[in-house]
């Protein structure tokens, strides 16, 4: 049986841990607010650039841009976005499991894995995967320069025929309590076909095709920026929730240990009293 001293020491150590998890929960909550704002405030641009792309694709008519070209799929790239850090529950593992499920299809060599974030890099690196490209770190908040570099490389891979298709696997932020691992196609770009009647009589300067060509890379980059923002918001919310749960667990552990400590203390007191009483009785009789 543990001594009361040992139990008190454990209580103190759990309390320290609880303070840490509490602090981490609050930090994650603050970061979540920022990245959530980022997701919402970026939506108008994303919606508009998508609409403009469709408009231009329809206007340019027979667009033969290489990024639109649907080829028979021999090699595929999978961009897997998770976090740099742990202590966020099953956030990273959920993404990794989903990635493994997707890549069960076909030979390992037919995949160009593109891990984004330290955790995914470590996991697949240890298992001997060769990376088509990688972003070793994602950072705390959305980083446009990183998104830009990734977009350029993915476009280049698609254009030089290294891969025939690029998908992104990430965690969509639904609400603080709910997240969903999702895979979305990135390349080739699928322009949603709008009805011919919807195209208004626009003036295009210099020409629909020329604008289209400059718009397309930005569109791809923006898609990546959006999924990164979603993933970051999900990460912070996952961390907030799991650290909140850890704080609650610590509270339960502390209250249980306190109970045990009190029982031992009470038992000691009772034993002492009965010894005194027993001793007094004995003296009386003699």
């Amino acid at each position: 049986m543990a001594t009361i001293k040992q139990i008190r020491r454990r209580i103190r150590s759990v309390k320290n841990t609880q303070q840490i998890t509490k602090a981490m929960e609050m930090v994650a909550a603050a970061k979540l607010r920022r990245s959530q704002d980022r997701v919402t405030s970026a939506r108008p641009y994303a919606a508009r650039i998508g609409a403009m792309l469709e408009n231009l694709a329809a206007a340019a008519g027979d667009v033969s841009h290489p990024l639109f070209e649907v080829r028979p799929v021999r090699r595929r790239a999978l961009v897997v976005i998770a976090s740099d850090k742990g202590l966020c529950g099953s956030f990273n593992m959920n993404v990794i499991r989903a990635a493994e499920r997707i890549m069960e299809e076909g030979e390992r060599s037919s995949w160009d894995l593109v891990p984004v974030g330290r955790r995914v890099n470590q996991y697949f690196g240890k298992r001997g995967w060769a990376f088509g490209y990688t972003l070793p770190e994602l950072g705390d908040q959305v980083d446009a320069a990183r998104a830009h570099a990734l977009a350029q490389e993915l476009v280049a891979m698609q254009l030089r025929g290294q891969v025939d298709r690029v998908d992104i696997l990430f965690t969509r932020f639904v609400s603080t309590m709910s997240r969903r691992v999702e895979s979305v196609p990135l390349l080739p770009v699928a322009a949603g076909h709008i009805d011919g009647g919807a195209v208004k009589e626009y003036i295009y300067e210099p020409s629909a095709e020329a604008i289209f060509r400059t718009l397309l890379p930005r569109y791809v980059e923006n898609r990546i920026l959006q999924v990164m923002a979603e993933s970051l918001a999900s990460e912070h919310s996952a961390r907030m929730v799991s650290m909140g749960a850890a704080t609650n667990n610590a509270r339960d552990v502390i209250s249980n240990l306190t109970l045990v400590a009190n029982k031992i203390r009470q038992a000691a007191i009772t034993r002492e009293i009965s010894e005194i009483v027993g001793g007094a009785d004995g003296q009386k009789r003699s």
């Binding site: 970026a42 108008p44 300067e205 210099p206 400059t214 718009l215």
Partner: protein, 137 residues
């Protein structure tokens, strides 16, 4: 009073401007172009340059625009900007340093893609410096 229309400037990060305006002068790929109320539907690419806006009521504002796209339809103008600052928000020293870096890169690189990127960076940096020095012209 001249008729007004809605101007919205969006960047990948956030909405920068959403106002009633009387006129917009934007740096189009083929030269500066002005937009007034009831302009014909238009989509054009924008290059780094000065975006001059006259708000409803007559106040004028100028911005350093780092390229993007302009769409006008149904008396509404939307600019998808790569980035945009008001003169007060520009860090002149940083812009000058960026220009210097871009010039250096132009001096010692050969790849076509890199030249394009360095030129674009140079144009953006010079534009920021320029908009600060002559915001009202």
């Amino acid at each position: 009073m001249p008729e007004s229309f809605q101007l919205t400037v969006l960047t990948p990060v956030r909405t920068l401007l959403d106002e009633r305006v009387e006129s917009v002068v934007a740096p189009g790929a083929e030269g500066y172009l002005g937009v007034l109320a009831n302009h014909a539907p238009l989509i054009t690419a924008l290059i780094p340059g000065k975006l001059a806006v006259r708000l409803a009521g007559g106040e004028t504002r100028a911005f350093a625009l780092s390229g993007g796209f302009l769409e006008v339809s149904a008396n509404r103008a939307v600019i998808l900007a790569d980035a945009m600052e008001e003169p007060g928000q520009i860090d002149v020293e940083r812009a000058k340093r960026a220009a210097e870096r871009a010039r250096e890169r132009l001096r010692d690189i050969h790849g076509k893609l890199d030249v394009e990127r360095a030129e674009a960076a140079l144009a953006r940096a010079l534009n920021r410096v320029k908009v600060i020095s002559e915001p009202r012209e």
